[in-house]
């Protein structure tokens, strides 16, 4: 599974993208976040306030309870500030 990060989530994680193989039992966006937070200080910092982190699965906005089934690319980013 490809993960991509944007804006200050990218800066805190310390990379723009990576490929991961989450362990069995990681079935939703929220479970993926919980697993990522256990992977190091940068991740813990990036996801410390989970409420503000937005996610997308294959370019479509996804809620924390969204299933990762079939997901190729999962993105994490702060609230959008375009426009």
């Amino acid at each position: 599974m490809k993960l991509v990060y944007f804006a200050w989530v990218r800066e805190r994680v310390g990379r723009a993208e990576e490929h991961v193989e989450p362990p069995a039992g990681i079935g939703t966006v929220a479970e993926l976040v919980a697993w990522l937070k256990s992977r190091g200080e940068g991740y813990a910092h990036a996801f410390e306030n989970e409420r503000v982190i937005r996610a997308a699965i294959d370019h479509v906005h996804a809620r924390p309870d969204a299933s990762l089934q079939g997901a190729r690319e999962v993105a994490f980013f702060p609230p959008m500030t375009g426009g």
């Binding site: 804006a7 370019h59 906005h61 993105a75 980013f77 702060p78 959008m80 500030t81 375009g82 426009g83």
Partner: protein, 154 residues
């Protein structure tokens, strides 16, 4: 009606885009537009840097443009959003909507802007006049509120 969506680093010409919507047609009675520009915040900023999510930015803006085309009887719709380094006074975003009557064109323009603010994957970072890199711009709750009012049938 196929909305025209462009995500690009280059500047754009609002007049040319608006003309393209209406030129040679006699069924369009209204063209509404919105241009968003980079402010210097009373001299504090030297630029805004717009990061975007390539692929999703195009897809999400196209999705919202398509939703506007379903909600209102539009005869044309153009959305352009820039990324990269943008200086004060430069254009960031354009929405232009054409319809027979004024209300759909104005409503669709406002709808697009509210949704671009809260759903399009762009993030602004300040570059300070002092030469330092500034902070990421924080999202505003007022923008979420503005977008949420469209959830009710319009």
């Amino acid at each position: 009606m196929n909305p025209a969506v462009r995500i690009q680093s280059e500047d754009f010409d609002p007049a040319a885009e608006m003309d393209a919507l209406a030129s040679g047609r006699t069924d369009i009675g209204a063209v509404a537009s919105f241009v968003g520009l980079c402010r210097d915040e009373e001299g504090r900023l030297s630029a805004l840097e717009l990061e975007h999510y390539p692929g999703m930015a195009e897809a999400e803006v196209a999705r919202v443009a398509g939703e506007a085309a379903r909600r209102w009887p539009l005869l044309g719709l153009t959305v352009i959003h820039r990324y990269g380094l943008i200086r004060p006074g430069e254009r960031i975003v354009l929405v232009a909507a054409a319809s027979s009557h004024r209300q759909p064109a104005l409503a669709a323009t406002e709808f697009l802007m509210d949704y671009l603010k809260t759903r399009a994957p762009f993030w602004k970072r300040e570059h300070l006049a002092t030469g330092e890199l500034g902070a990421w711009v924080a999202a505003k709750e007022a923008d979420d509120a503005a977008a949420s009012r469209w959830a009710a049938p319009v």
